[in-house]
Every structure is written in structure tokens, then in C-alpha cells.
Symmetry: C2
């Protein structure tokens, strides 16, 4: 609030502006239910729009669409019933850490906070899905499907790309990858997925899950790899770390697997939803 | 994965490194349960550590602690039972938007993405709590407690600060605020909260909720204001927007209310938990 900065002769405008805010606020609050829910959602959306505008003035170029999408999801997570203790920890953590940024020099506090929060969110959510795959009934088989398709997609892309690769897939980010390799990786993942599905105790439709998992992981897990490469390019780094000799860091090792975990997790959720499992 | 970049004579080291990763991975996967959960949590934590390291190399200074905390919460949200459709939308949105960053020039893609995600997360979660307060039984009274304490804290701080203010509260961020005003705002919020609690149908302990709400909102909602001021300082902007004449934007108007909504929401949750409501 900017009360302290307003000059006394602004008072009529201030009163009018206050009424413009308080009257609809009070009316929608009185009505309650979806009315107040809708008003708060609109206010949250407008505030997000303004926040992104402020960051653009500060020299960044964040996407309004991404911010509005995230705000919409986060807003609904609170209002619909959920696990209150984690929500409590999550939101208080978010607020506390942002408040702690107030102590620091102002030059790029909010971008540092944003990088920490969103980086942790990306790895925590994707890593959680990878752990979640093992908790399903027959979890070892679902995990085997996840790993087999990921590693075959990666090895298939490498081998096919080395022999037949001509067209670069993402020259700026990962110059070694080719379109031919990418297609070879999908084929390898599909074959490997169908093999796992054939042997797995997933019921008579098991190899369909293998086929679908192979298609999904084969075609999309490369994005986990490319995104990690994007972070490395920005840092001018070859590897994310040096934990594993000859393999770089853990992030290098699990980059594609993180995406595969999410994909197989939701393939399983879909199968449960349509009562195939 | 960096397979394509490795020279042929690295093969023994690559095989050893691969075994170092695959052997414990396979062993923990076989054991399942908390074993695999723990291994994945450790891997996620290490990958977060590496990601923050990469961002530091790129010239940012994100906090490892904030990133690890966020990763821990996000990881647990996935593995424990939750609302699958929002989780599905949330994680796929996070991955899709990050994948779309791959199209852009590399100079500050990840910080732009991070600002959009974390900005939307902050406003969505806090705004959702404000909407949630109205959904409680006697929601209008809980919302009245939220607004009364927030607005009295703000007005009390302004009036007391103007008359008795000597010591600056946060000179770099909001030069108009004083310690004396801050204490006056707490007193006003406590009195207002107790008055609402006295009249509200919260049962015989109602005015205790008012007292606690006034203390919480009076002492902490100013952070919502300061955090918004921090964003504005970075953008060299006076207001977040121009929607309300004389009052700036919506974010200016609801900055403290967002914090108050979260505080009252969880005060209510605590009261329900200890079966006072």
C-alpha cells in the first residue's frame, strides 16, 4: 500500500478509488461461493499481470502465459481439498524465503529467489514421480518399463545417429543429436517397451502399455536431456557435476529419466482411470 | 546424457561409472518402498545442488537452501496421495513451458521461465488462501477478520507513524515505514481482531481467535507490502499498475491482504485441528 506516499490533496481521488475497490469486494464477499472465488481469481490474475510487468521493467522477459497458468493451478490447489500439512509448509516456506530476500541488496534478489524456487519445483516434482512409479502395484515392472524405454531411446538415438545421422535436431543446444537418431531412439524405445509389457504382470493388455510407454518416453524424454543442456549452455558447463567418473553429475544421469518417470506415472494413472488396471 | 561427446578411450571409465550408478539403482529399485523413495530423494537433492551450481556459474546467486526446501516439498506432494488432475496439469505445464524455452535465445531463458513460474506460484497460492477463507463455515466472518486486521494494521501504522514515527523500519525498501508505526499497527489489528471475534459466531473462544488473528496479521502482513515494494524497487516503479485511481494497481491493493489470507486460513486450520471449531 502506498498510503504514506500520497499527498493530502489526493484525498478525494483516494476515497473514490477506495470505494471502487471496497464496494465490489464487499458485495462479492457477501455473495460468497463462486462469486467471491471468481473475484479473487480475477484479482490474482490481474496481480500476476502486474508482477510480470514489473519484472519486464526490471529487464527480464518472463512469459505472462506461464505465470497465469501457474497462478491458476496454484490457486485451485489451495481451494480444492488437499494435503494441508504440505500445503502449509509449502506456502509458508515460499513466503518466508521471499521475506528473507528483503535483507539482501536489491539488484537481483527476486530473480535469485525465483531460480531457487522454480529449480527446486522442477526437480522435486519430476523426481517425486520417478519415486512414485515404484510405489504402484507391480512397481518394479513399471520402473523397469520407465528405465528400459529411457535407456533404449538414448542408446538407440546415439547408435542410429552415429551411423545414419544427417539432420541436426537441436544444433544450438545439443549439437550431437540428429533427427535420424531421434527416430531410431523412438523405435528402440517402442520395441523395448513392448518387450517389458509382454513379460510384465500387467494383464492381457500389458504389451499395449509397453507400446504406449515406449512411444511417450521415446518421443519426449529427450526434452529432459535438452532442458538440462540448456542450463549447462547458460553456465558454459560441460557436465552438471563430477559425481560419477566419466558420466558427469547426477543431473546428467537422470535428466531424461525424470521426464520418463512423469510420463509412465501418468500413463499408469490413465490406465487406472479407464479401469484397465 | 553425454554419450555422444565421450571419446572412445573413455570406455573403461564409462563402464565403471555406469556400474557405479546402475548397481545401487537396481538394488534400491529391487528393495522398493522407503529404500527407493530415499534413493530418489537423495538423487533429486543432488541434482538440485548441481542445478543451483549451474545457475551460479551463469551469474545468478540463487539460494541452495530455498531450492532444496522447494524440492523436498514438491517431491512429497507427488508421492503422498493428492488431487491427481491438478498435479497432472501442474507438472505437465511446468515441463511443457520449460521445453518451449528451448526455442528462444539462450541468454536468459531459464531466469525468465523461473520468474514466471515462481511469480505465478506466489500469487496463486496466496490468492487461493484468500478465496479459501470465504469458503469456511461462517466464511464471511473469517473474511471480515482477515480484512479488518489487515486494514487496521495498515491504517494504524500510517497514523501512528505520522505522529510518533522516528525509527525507520525498512529504509531501503519502503522509506515511509517506521518501527513506531509498525507497533501501532499491531495494536490496532489486535483490537480490531478482538472486536470481530467478539461478535462473530465462532463460539465462546471467538475473541481468542480475534486476538491471535490480530497478532499474526498485525505483525506479519506488512511483509506482503514490503515484498511488493521490493519488486517495485527492482523495476524502479511507484505502483504495480493503474487500475484504481489514486491507489495504483490491484497488486498494490491486495499485497498485505494476500499474507493475511494465508495467516487466517491456517489459524482456522489450527483451530479445526485442535477441535476448537
Amino acid at each position: 500500500l502506498n498510503a504514506a506516499k500520497t499527498k493530502p490533496n489526493d484525498l478525494p481521488i483516494r476515497l473514490l478509488g477506495g470505494a471502487l475497490f471496497v464496494v465490489p469486494f464487499a458485495a462479492f464477499a457477501w455473495l460468497g461461493g463462486w462469486w467471491f472465488f471468481g473475484l479473487m481469481l480475477a484479482a490474482t490474475g490481474l496481480a500476476t499481470y502486474e508482477l510480470i510487468g514489473l519484472m519486464r521493467k526490471a529487464g527480464h522477459t518472463p512469459s505472462l502465459l506461464i505465470a497465469l497458468f501457474t497462478a491458476l493451478i496454484a490457486f485451485d490447489v489451495v481451494v480444492l481439498p488437499t494435503i494441508s500439512i504440505l500445503l502449509f509448509a509449502g506456502v509458508l516456506g515460499l513466503m518466508t524465503t521471499l521475506a528473507l530476500e528483503l535483507r539482501k541488496p536489491l539488484d537481483h534478489t527476486s530473480s535469485d529467489w525465483a531460480l531457487a524456487v522454480s529449480g527446486g519445483l522442477y526437480l522435486g516434482l519430476t523426481g517425486g514421480h520417478l519415486a512414485g512409479v515404484r510405489i504402484f502395484e507391480n512397481g518394479l515392472w513399471w520402473l523397469a518399463l520407465t528405465c528400459t524405454t529411457t535407456w533404449l531411446a538414448d542408446s538407440g538415438a546415439y547408435l542410429v545417429g552415429r551411423s545414419f545421422g544427417k539432420h541436426k535436431l537441436a544444433p544450438r543446444i545439443s549439437p550431437g543429436k540428429t533427427v535420424e537418431g531421434y527416430l531410431g531412439g523412438i523405435a528402440a524405445a517402442v520395441l523395448g517397451g513392448m518387450a517389458v509389457g509382454w513379460f510384465a504382470p500387467f494383464g492381457p493388455l500389458g504389451w499395449w502399455f509397453g507400446l504406449a510407454g515406449g512411444m511417450l518416453v521415446g518421443s519426449l524424454s529427450v526434452f529432459g536431456d535438452l532442458i538440462e543442456s540448456m542450463f549447462k549452455r547458460q553456465a558454459n558447463a560441460k557436465d552438471s557435476g563430477h559425481l560419477i567418473p566419466g558420466h558427469g553429475g547426477i543431473f546428467d544421469r537422470i535428466d531424461s529419466l525424470l521426464w520418463a518417470g512423469v510420463l509412465i506415472y501418468h500413463l499408469h494413472a490413465l490406465a487406472v482411470w479407464v479401469t484397465l488396471l
